[in-house]
Symmetry: C2
Subunit: 148 residues, 2 copies
DNA sequence: ATTGCTGCAAACCTTTTGCAAGAAT
DNA sequence: ATTCTTGCAAAAGGTTTGCAGCAAT
């Protein structure tokens, strides 16, 4: 259920082993993913990669991300209507997305365990813990609303 | 936290009371929503409305859906990368989306209560119960996978 | 020498928006 | 008469794809 941590070399090795080729774009993408431990959009990753490889195109980023995802290195989540966010598969966690300000909070997956088990028991459904995304209103936005 | 059930007349009355005007498109849309108790895309709703009002355009459907949503009559959820699904606000429930076959299961929101409370307590975050969407793999797809 | 990867540009899909004409009140 | 709504068409935003050339193996 996800490695502890991925190093750049881990990832490149996995990429090679799977038959993929290592390109400058892939290297820069992997580096960006490892360095920013946050949830980033494909657009942000493209920008990061372009610092090192100015010619890199969004389509390549998408293709590389898909390759990494199929290897279990990267996961993505859809948080509402906006662009998907990508991050390294790591310690599993859920996402709380504020529908007012858009902030994303990561919460430990332990919070979801009761739900995960109930859903498996009652609905024979295996929750993908990586894709957990719950929307609502964060404390700051709720407070701001009360004052208006 | 949501009415028990909406009738067509309930909805039209609410629409009128709020200052909105009743048009043929709105009437057909409301009828489609009440009749199909499922989760439908804007595209499907457009098709349903066009049976009665062939000239209705998708943009009008979107605008009407937004109006209905602001009145608390309709809610929508984003289940993955595909089009959003809309349905009448009713007994609150969560969604389980199978990432293999795309089926959507509705589950009672009681399953989410432990999570909702933990998240409020620990993260000061108010979950929007209508938007709960959890992805994973349904029993049929898991079984099919085991046999392959 | 293979053949996987790339950038570019264009296509795609869902949703939003501008606008002038039309319709509900 | 007022002004809310509509249809159309175009735009927008995110993602995917076709293709010919480039590059990693």
């Amino acid at each position: 259920m996800g490695e502890e941590t991925w190093s750049i070399d881990d990832i490149l090795a996995t990429l090679r082993t799977s038959g993929g080729r290592i390109t400058a774009t892939k290297r820069a993408l992997v580096q960006a993913l490892v360095e920013t431990r946050e949830h980033v959009t494909a657009e942000a990753l493209t920008a990061a990669v372009q610092i090192h490889a100015p010619e890199a195109s969004p389509s390549t980023i998408y293709r590389n991300l898909e390759e990494l995802e199929q290897l279990g290195i990267v996961v993505h989540a859809h948080l509402g209507r906006a662009a998907a966010v990508y991050h390294l598969a790591g310690p599993v966690h859920g996402h709380l997305l504020c529908s007012r300000c858009g902030v994303t909070l990561e919460v430990p997956s332990t919070l979801f365990e009761p739900l995960v088990h109930a859903v498996r028991r009652d609905f024979d459904f295996d929750v993908d813990r990586h894709h957990l995304a719950i929307s609502g209103v964060c404390g700051s936005c709720r407070d701001a609303e009360l004052h208006s």
